[in-house]
């Protein structure tokens, strides 16, 4: 009976009418602005970027002469070399972090803060209704449990997207203010099919943001699941943040020894490894990772849905 839009409106009201939410928003803005100020204050200008690029290229050539290096690494270095040559030939300066675009790319590191905040919101979404006792008021309305849960999940994702948009905007604004916008027309050098092409820098920034979102979505979904299954916000925050910070390390150590590490969630959340890095385990590809992520995503949601639908609401 009640429509999804109204339910989402309700969920948003419950998020943004709370003081804690605004503290998180404030911290995010602060992180983005401070990041720009710190870079402005500490960055050292390179005197001659051409000499540096040339030195880097020579270094790469030396390594490439060694035939024992694995093919993956070889491809990666080859790509680097080609781009370096293109830079020297067409006079395209490497992007530095004290430029408008450079800072935007760097700001993608702050996404882990967005992930943390989204985990907190996701963890509270269902669990708080139980701890406040309001779940008893919420579930006796003409709205199915599935619809209520969906509205909560959508609201969590909306929160994440809003935070990302805010981060991007604040970073762009502070970048423009502190570093200027003279370099805004510079292209991004992408390596496609053995050749270097100049592409839109904005598209590249959005791509970096998007690739960084895999663990954001996965961990928010994970926290949402724990929150629903155990009805305990602290547990959900704890488990999800522990996974956020420790998961990748553990996965890395496991991947050194075991091949099956590639099926672990955190081996696949860093999608940027396929764009300008090296896969964690040999043989991993972007479609493989996307498939693994999809399986985890469906599993988390299935558990959440099933528990919320079936379980009795007792004191």
């Amino acid at each position: 009976m009640s429509n999804l839009f109204s339910l989402i409106q309700n969920e948003n009201m419950k998020i943004y009418r709370r003081f804690g939410t605004w503290v998180m928003i404030g911290l995010l803005v602060l992180a983005s602005v401070t990041g720009a100020i710190i870079i402005k204050a500490t960055h050292k200008e390179t005197n001659d970027w051409k000499a540096e690029v040339a030195a880097d290229s020579n270094n790469i050539r030396k390594i490439l002469k060694d035939n024992n290096i694995p093919k993956i690494q070889k491809d990666h270095l080859q790509k680097q070399l080609t781009i370096n040559e293109y830079r020297l030939k067409h006079d395209v300066k490497p992007m530095e972090s004290n430029t408008f675009w450079g800072y935007l790319i760097n700001s993608a590191d702050i996404i882990s803060l967005v992930t943390l905040f989204t985990i907190i919101v996701a963890a509270g979404s269902v669990a708080s209704e139980f701890s406040w006792g309001t779940i008893k008021m919420l579930l006796i309305r003409p709205a199915s449990r599935a619809k209520i849960l969906l509205s909560k999940y959508i609201t969590v994702l909306m929160f994440a997207v809003s935070m990302l948009a805010l981060l991007l905007m604040i970073s762009a604004a502070s970048g423009a203010l502190l570093f200027g916008v003279e370099t805004i027309r510079e292209p991004y050098l992408a390596y496609q099919n053995g050749a270097v092409v100049e592409t839109s820098m904005l598209a590249h920034v959005l791509q970096v943001y998007a690739l960084n979102c895999a663990d954001l979505v996965m961990l928010a979904t994970f926290a949402f699941m724990i929150s629903t299954v155990f009805r305990n916000q602290s547990l959900a925050i704890g488990l999800a943040t522990f996974s956020l910070f420790i998961g990748p390390q553990i996965t890395y150590f496991l991947s050194l020894k075991f091949d099956w590490a590639k099926y672990i969630l955190f081996a696949n959340t860093d999608l940027a490894q396929y764009i300008d890095g090296m896969p964690l385990v040999k043989g991993m590809t972007m479609p493989f990772s996307l498939a693994v992520l999809l399986v985890y995503f469906v599993a988390f949601n299935a558990v959440t849905w099933w528990t919320f639908q079936k379980r009795d609401v007792a004191a």
Binding site: M1, S2, S6, L7, Q9, N10, M13, K14, R17, R18, F19, W132, G133, T134, K136, M137, L138, L139, I140, R141, P142, A143, S144, K310, D312, V313, A314, A315
Partner: protein, 304 residues
């Protein structure tokens, strides 16, 4: 008359334990119906099943003929409820809480919200945060959210819990008014018999998850009752009563005479006493007999 709320052979198992056994009852429009039983008898479980918070192991609950399990959204739109305490979002104002619940049902206008706020007498504090409310005000706000969508069944779990005597009286009068004037079927639960008597038209006694009996308050009080006549002089009055009807069971107590008599015979006995020049200061139907029956029915166990 068609019942608005029907429970048909409702049973609830949790694990291997049966919490509710074969519970059947009908509640009609315009009456206040009570669920009476000691703590842990299964009142709250029953209410949770009616409003769909708990699954029903077997049997069914019908609201206006619609099954709560099969067509939840359609059945529940006619139900307003407070399950246990009226928990609200404390960081929102009372008004925002009501807007929240109004959005979840079709057709609740801004005017309706304001109407309900006036109805429960919260108009001066409705824009304050709920965390500043007293328990009584939270009860009122709880009542407001339950009435928002003009339900035909109102279910309140221990509605007088934590209220002061004035508050209890107010809610009692209010529930009766809703039943009489708005033709609502009101279901209340309590572990206090006296409260049930004052509030309800009928009540079910539940113990150990089983329906012991359904009593009508009026019927009960119209049966043979122990009546206290506060009279002066007592001895003379006792003689008079004995002469009037030797079969009556009379007992002299401090305040006067305790007579076990049919409800309908009370005025006649009183007229006789007055005619004989006895000063009658008061006549009290002693609820005690009801209490005794309740104790009897629940085997005197753990009433409170």
């Amino acid at each position: 008359m068609k019942p608005i709320l029907q429970l048909k052979h409702v049973r609830k198992d949790i694990g291997k334990k049966t919490i509710i056994h074969d519970l059947s009852l009908d509640v009609f429009a315009g009456e206040v119906f009570g669920l009476l039983g000691p703590n842990g008898a299964g009142k709250t479980t029953t209410i949770r099943m009616i409003v769909g918070l708990m699954g029903i192991t077997s049997g069914e609950v019908l609201v206006n003929g619609v099954s709560v399990t099969r067509d939840f959204e359609k059945a529940i739109q006619h139900v307003g409820a407070i399950v246990e305490n009226p928990e609200m979002y404390k960081f929102l104002t009372g008004y925002q809480n009501l807007v929240h619940y109004a959005r979840m049902t079709k057709g609740v206008t801004k005017e309706r919200i304001e109407e309900v706020v006036r109805l429960v007498g919260l108009e001066h504090r409705i824009h304050d945060k709920v965390k500043t409310y007293s328990l009584g005000m939270r009860q009122r706000l709880g009542l407001a959210q339950a009435l928002l969508h003009r339900p035909s069944v109102l279910i309140l779990d221990e509605p007088t819990n934590g209220l002061d005597p004035a508050g209890i009286r107010e809610i009692r009068d209010y529930l009766r008014k809703l039943a009489r004037e708005e033709r609502l079927a009101v279901v209340v639960s309590s572990h206090l018999l006296a409260e049930m008597e004052m509030m309800c038209d009928r009540f079910a006694i539940i113990q150990h998850g089983k329906l012991v009996t359904i009593e009508s308050v009026q019927e009960l009080s119209q049966q043979t009752e122990k009546v206290l006549f506060i009279v002066e002089p007592k001895e003379k009055a006792a003689q008079m009563v004995k002469a009037h009807d030797p079969h009556l069971d009379i007992r002299l107590v401090d305040q006067g005479l305790e007579v076990t008599i049919d409800y309908k015979d009370i005025p006649r006995l009183n007229a006789m006493l007055v005619a004989e020049g006895i000063n009658v200061y008061g006549i009290h139907v002693l609820a005690k007999s009801l209490e005794e029956r309740f104790l009897e029915m629940t085997e005197g166990n753990e009433i409170v």
